[in-house]
Amino acid sequence: MKKLGFIVLWVLVTPITSSGQKQATYLKIAYEGGMFTHPGLSVGIERPLGSKKNAEGPRNEFRWGAKLAFYFHRRYQTGVFVLPGISWMKTTSGGFQYGVGFHTGYLRAFIPNTYLVSDDGSVTRKRFFGTNHFVSVPSFSLGKSLAKKNIPIEYFFNSQVMIQKPYFEGSNIYYVFSIGINYNFN
């Protein structure tokens, strides 16, 4: 658990501390909906890769960062995941944005209301029972930058397919839709 805590801290803090330059650094906050309707939340940090300029005007850029998130699918599972990764984003002169990303990380799937039944019929609840998965998450996003109006915010819709391993006979797929904002605090 301590190791996990360290990894989470590392992936979240590294993008902030990796450069002393005045570079765009985004705080990402989003609603994460497992299959749209099963709610969750994500918090992350993201910053451009290579570029030292602030985020204004049309551009192509790679960003790297990480997020900590969860979704709550009440009777299926509550997934808590840490996803470092990279994305590519195109911003048009009007501020319209689209891009793709690939993140990979760790998922802990908490399976609710799990019980163990012994051969003699006694029943024991297994609290916080769950399974561990390595996840790969390709994603596609659309958004809008408000930088031209001197508002340091981007809002976005992001469509993600979470591929979970290990899983019965291969990998599991779970869809996560997110909608949120990037706040540039530099």
Partner: protein, 346 residues
């Protein structure tokens, strides 16, 4: 923000852990049971205050039951669930497929153990209710196996075989019953003066075919019976898909996109090569109700009649529902409901 995140996460984990068994006329409980590394989802709905719970064994093999319950495919929410509670569950390797199990644990032996554990759970959590098994199609076939192995230790009070066949494709005897079935319906249609020319052709084919044995003969049989089979397709609508995809305990992509149900059913079919359950059902002595449809070509009355005669139960009942096919609960829901209620309440 950081605190909000962890607060919401804690709230989510807490909310997902706090379902308790509900004794009411309209229970809606969902549990997961961990058995040999698989997590089996169990959904208990209906009248738990009746003190009677029916464990539903889905057909297939490898058909899920949670989506079946979610869209209320059999319509039991307004019928059987008013009288009793029904526990729906997904077999291991089917539906959400949670846990760390692998294909090696998919077997008849493990399926029976899974069923037994679910029954023990229901007994422990719902104040020792009377338990019944309702097995549809292959679920009925699995129930015969379960009862043969666990009859001496199970607390099941009775078994309803709903359109549940007693033979497998590997057994030649299955095709004797199927030939008899085709012969009977052919006579019925000719006597009723329906499509006489077609059914006369069928009669000629029956007379010329001593035993249905080859793949061609089996295919021909299927073509003929399809003409008679009373299909009662449930009208699956857009709202059903939406319910299952977005408002159910399902991860629908796990079911649709991973395509492993065939792996599971093939593994189970492979095991069936050595089974001859009809020769053993004289050892089953629990009360049993056989239900089948007049035009059920999967579990035809000719086959279930033999099962009825051979089963060891003293308290046994055999019902053929007129004009019904393999889903008699859809073809004749009122009669199906009445038969089941009468059997359980007797």
């Amino acid at each position: 923000m950081r605190y909000s995140f962890f607060l919401l996460l804690t709230l989510s984990l807490t909310l997902s852990c706090c379902e308790n068994p509900e004794i009411s006329t309209n229970a809606d409980d969902f549990f997961n049971i961990e058995e040999n590394n698989a997590v089996l989802p169990v959904w208990i709905r209906g009248n738990t205050s009746s003190g009677k719970i029916i464990l539903f064994l889905q057909g297939g093999p490898a058909s899920p039951a949670i989506d079946f319950a979610r869209v209320d495919y059999p319509g039991w929410r307004k019928t059987l669930e008013k009288d009793f509670a029904i526990a729906y569950f997904d077999y291991r390797g089917v539906g959400n497929k949670q846990g760390t199990f692998d294909l090696n644990t998919v077997s008849y032996g493990q399926y029976m153990k899974d069923i037994h554990k679910i029954l023990l759970f229901l007994k422990a959590k719902y104040n020792n209710p009377e338990l019944f098994i309702l097995g549809h199609s292959w679920g009925g076939y699995l129930a015969y196996h379960y009862l043969l192995r666990y009859q001496s230790v199970t607390s099941v009070k009775g078994f309803i075989s709903a359109d549940g066949s007693i033979t497998t494709d590997y057994e030649a005897i299955r095709w004797l019953y199927r030939k008899a079935y085709l012969g009977r319906i052919t006579t019925e249609f000719i006597n009723a003066q329906k499509d006489v020319a077609f059914w006369m052709d069928v009669q000629t084919w029956i007379d010329a075919t001593d035993v249905i044995d080859t793949d061609e003969e089996k295919m021909q049989w299927n073509i003929y019976v399809a003409k008679a089979t009373a299909e009662a397709d449930y009208p699956v609508g857009t709202s059903d898909y939406l319910k299952v995809a977005f408002f159910s305990p399902y991860n629908i992509l796990s079911y649709l996109a991973t395509g492993k149900d065939e792996v599971v059913s093939n593994k189970l079919f492979e095991e069936e090569k050595d089974f001859h359950i009809l020769d053993q059902i004289n050892h089953i002595t629990l009360p049993v109700l056989f239900i089948t449809g007049q035009y059920d070509d999967v579990a035809p009355p000719e086959e279930l009649q033999v099962a009825y005669e051979r089963i060891g139960s003293v308290n046994k009942h055999f019902t053929v529902i007129n004009d019904a096919g393999h889903e008699s609960f859809l073809n004749s829901p009122i009669e199906f409901h009445k038969r089941v209620v009468d059997f359980i309440n007797q």
